[in-house]
């Protein structure tokens, strides 16, 4: 265990309900927190075909009326968030519930802050640190992926510039997270793969981050142990409850890891791909993960070797070099097995890709995440990495 240099600032949700059926405890959690006027934010699919209506009925039976916003979109923009805020302001609310994948929860987080402190959204972009709390946030994830339910981050896209803005601060950390793997049983294969790879990326990046600390290290290793043996299973056998449960636990642990350390170069470079070409977040991470890992590992072989061991790829006694080589191989194999496309096979226009590379590298650097990477990448090196990933 490394001696930490400065105290680590760990933030945790006060309440974490975890396990099959946890989401059904929403009325109990609300009343325990003394909250009675929730505004629930979700998306159209979860409202019409998912668990959202049943949950709202369950709260109603407990005597709590909920207003619902079911129009969140993937990769929410400033305009989407403002639209949601306008709906919230039509009545009085004492909390916000985000139900869904990363996008509804991220929308809920930003709306909760805007409801108390006002806009414009752009002023909340890092390096701004939003300490003053907004409305209390409750998060109910329906994917095993983003970990957003336990993080102090939200990502909102600037629709004008196609920039994914990272916003950080304790105000975005939910007061309660209800982590119910049963909500993930119906996830389609592509979503299971993308979100699962996102969680794996969170765990690895948190562990190798320059902001890692003993607490985040412990959580990251637990996350990798939970995710690695189960990611392929949830993709091949969606109904495997044990694997779903492990993935959900791992995604939450990974969220607690990176929220209290950071992400790094993969995320820094991945956000611009998502913003410009509308590639789902987990997928753009996965496209980069093997290449960025191969690039970064020489700067911190012992750390990457520990990741390999936690993932069951190497024995404790095997040398770091062996373990790191297995890790890079496994990340490539995972992409192949889970049919992760390259940017090219995803259908991105080659000339647009090349034209935007300098801009993407700049946006990556500006987000601050690459500065946490164990190996510093210049803008040129990032462009090289983007080109390596292009064809897989």
């Amino acid at each position: 265990m490394p001696l930490s240099v400065a105290p680590a600032s760990i933030l945790l949700p006060r309440i974490l309900r975890i396990g099959g059926g946890a989401s059904r405890q929403l009325p109990d959690v609300l009343s325990g927190l003394g909250l009675s006027r929730p505004f629930l934010i979700t998306d159209r699919f979860l409202w019409e075909q998912g668990p959202a209506q049943a949950l709202v009925e369950r709260i109603a039976n407990a005597g709590v009326a909920t207003r619902v916003y079911a129009d969140t979109v993937p990769d929410p923009t400033i305009a989407d968030v403002e639209n949601c805020l306008e709906q919230l302001r039509r009545d009085r609310h004492d909390c916000v519930i985000g139900l869904g994948g990363g996008s509804p929860i991220d929308t809920a987080k930003m709306v909760a802050v805007l409801a108390v402190h006002g806009g414009p959204v752009s002023r909340y972009k890092v390096p701004h640190d939003q300490v003053q709390p907004g409305l209390p946030i409750l998060a109910i994830p329906t994917t095993a992926g983003t970990g957003s339910e336990t993080t102090r981050f939200t990502i909102i896209t600037d629709g004008e510039t196609d920039e994914k803005m990272l916003c950080a601060g304790s105000a975005y950390l939910p007061i309660a997270a209800l982590v119910d793997y049963e909500l993930t049983l119906s996830k389609p294969r592509r979503l299971s793969a993308d979100t699962g790879l996102d969680a794996l990326t969170h765990a690895i990046e948190a562990y190798v981050s320059r902001k890692a600390n003993p607490f985040s290290d412990g959580m990251a290793l637990l996350a990798m142990k939970a995710i690695a043996p189960n990611l392929r299973i949830v993709c091949s056998d969606p109904a495997d409850r044990r694997a779903r449960e492990a993935m959900m636990l791992g995604a939450t642990q990974a969220g607690m890891a990176f929220s209290n350390a950071s992400v790094a170069l993969v995320h820094g470079m991945s956000r611009p791909i998502g913003a410009h070409f509308h590639v789902p977040h987990g997928l753009s991470n996965a496209m980069l993960l093997p290449f960025v890992t191969a690039f970064s590992a020489p700067a911190a072989p012992a750390r990457y070797a520990e990741c390999a061991r936690a993932m069951g790829l190497a024995e404790a006694a095997e040398r770091d070099g062996v373990a790191v080589a297995r890790l890079v191989d496994e990340l490539s194999a995972l992409n192949a097995d889970l049919d992760v496309p390259t940017p090219r096979t995803f259908g991105i226009d080659p000339s647009e890709w090349r034209r935007l590379l300098p801009n993407m590298a700049e946006q990556a650097i500006a987000s601050g995440s690459p500065a946490n990477n164990p190996r510093t990448a210049s803008a040129d090196q990032m462009q090289d990495l983007y080109m390596k990933a292009w064809d897989g």
Partner: protein
């Protein structure tokens, strides 16, 4: 697995110097009028003044009370409630070992909710909020800084009362191993063994869940290789840091699952014969583990592996044997006395056996142990530990 209900302090600052960040943490929480509860010993150690200076330079004046006692009593809690009532406070900083932290947590709740301390004892689940507590532990042991439990004794009846619920969970914990460097070896041993007991018991508890098991393994990995080092070389900063982290992880683990048979039996022993909580746990840990392990060998083997006593590939049986040997060796190396060597009179011990066993069973805690004993079995465990 059914739903598990976990709770954490929102803010945890961990690392050397973390206690110096108390002004920032107060600001983050929006508090400005703290009371500070500590112990005479801690106060005398010179650790408190730097904290008051930090607060002062941020323009915060804290009223301070040192009216605490080891193994908190309801009288000490009442004194703290009175102290809080005399001031105008928006939070309570608890600075000390488990006794100070537990006293503060209970007093903050009684101060805010009113009534008598006794009204809130278990089995009542107290989820109502108390005055917010910022906990700064000076020992690596109880995990009270991150737990929703506290204990206090009724000094008149020697009854040890358990308090539980979100109302006893601090809002922030500042976990600073530099505060533990001056701990004497006896305290290092007792509190460290307490933390080890928390980690093992929460891992094997029938109330454990996948999340708390992870926390418990983190604790065992930190404590296993560092307890002797912290005991033998008090200035070993790496060992102190690992022990402090391990104690906090163990607190997160048991607060969100439970303790088990060691604690059930230990509470009776420490209340009746006035020995420290960590010490009475340690006296019982090897014997209780030996009794319990056959019911859950795989779980105890995981503990052994996390402590570095067995390789992943080794059999559960081998790992469990090593665990038992290590727990005995730890007690020998850390000079943990048996009840007999501690000076408990044999006749009093013998006549207390059945009442202690009955009270232990009545506490309900043995029911979460992987192997649930009856009165006769508990008496046999106490007797085996008598001169172990």
């Amino acid at each position: 697995m059914p739903t598990s209900s976990l709770a954490f302090p929102r803010i945890v600052r961990i690392g050397g110097g973390a206690s110096g960040e108390v002004p920032e943490v107060l600001k983050q929480l929006g508090f400005s009028r703290p009371a500070l509860l500590t112990g005479k010993h801690v106060h005398g150690s010179g650790l408190v003044q730097p904290l008051l200076d930090r607060l002062g330079s941020s323009g915060i004046a804290a009223r301070i009370s040192t009216e605490t006692v080891p193994d908190p009593t309801i009288a000490a809690v009442a004194a703290c409630v009175d102290f809080l009532r005399e001031g105008d406070h928006d939070c309570l900083i608890a600075f000390g070992g488990g006794s100070v932290l537990d006293t503060a947590k209970i007093a903050a709740l009684v101060f805010r909710q009113g009534g008598e301390t006794r009204d809130y004892k278990a089995p009542r689940l107290v989820d109502e909020p108390g005055l917010p507590v910022i906990a700064i532990p000076t020992t690596a042991g109880t995990g009270s800084e991150v737990s929703r439990f506290a204990t206090a004794a009724d000094q008149a009846t020697d009854e040890k009362m358990l308090f539980m619920g979100l109302g006893f969970l601090p809002v922030a914990a500042l976990v600073d191993h530099e505060l533990t460097v001056s701990k004497p070896p006896r305290l290092t041993a007792d509190t460290g063994l307490d933390a080890l007991t928390h980690a093992i018991e929460s891992y094997v508890s029938v109330r454990a869940n996948a999340f708390t098991r992870g926390q418990a393994l983190m604790a065992l990995r930190a404590i296993g290789p560092n307890l002797r080092a912290a005991y033998r070389d008090p200035a070993n900063a790496a060992a102190r840091e690992a022990m402090m982290l391990g104690a906090t992880y163990a607190g997160l683990a048991f607060s969100n699952s439970s303790v088990a048979l060691v604690h059930a039996l230990s509470r009776q022993l420490s209340a009746l014969f006035h020995m420290s909580h960590g010490l009475s746990n340690a006296m019982l840990l090897p014997t209780v583990t030996e009794y319990s392990a056959p019911a859950a060998p795989a779980l105890y083997a995981d503990c052994a592996r996390a402590m570095g006593l067995a390789a992943e590939a080794e059999d559960d049986a081998v790992a469990v044997t090593r665990l038992l040997a290590e727990l005995r060796a730890l007690n020998a190396d850390l000079e943990v006395p048996s009840p007999k060597a501690f000076g408990v009179p044999e006749a009093r011990f013998e006549e207390a056996l059945v009442p202690m066993a009955e009270r232990a069973l009545a506490s309900g805690t043995p029911g979460v142990n992987p192997r649930v004993p009856n009165v006769e079995e508990i008496v046999a465990i106490y007797r085996r530990a008598w001169n172990a």
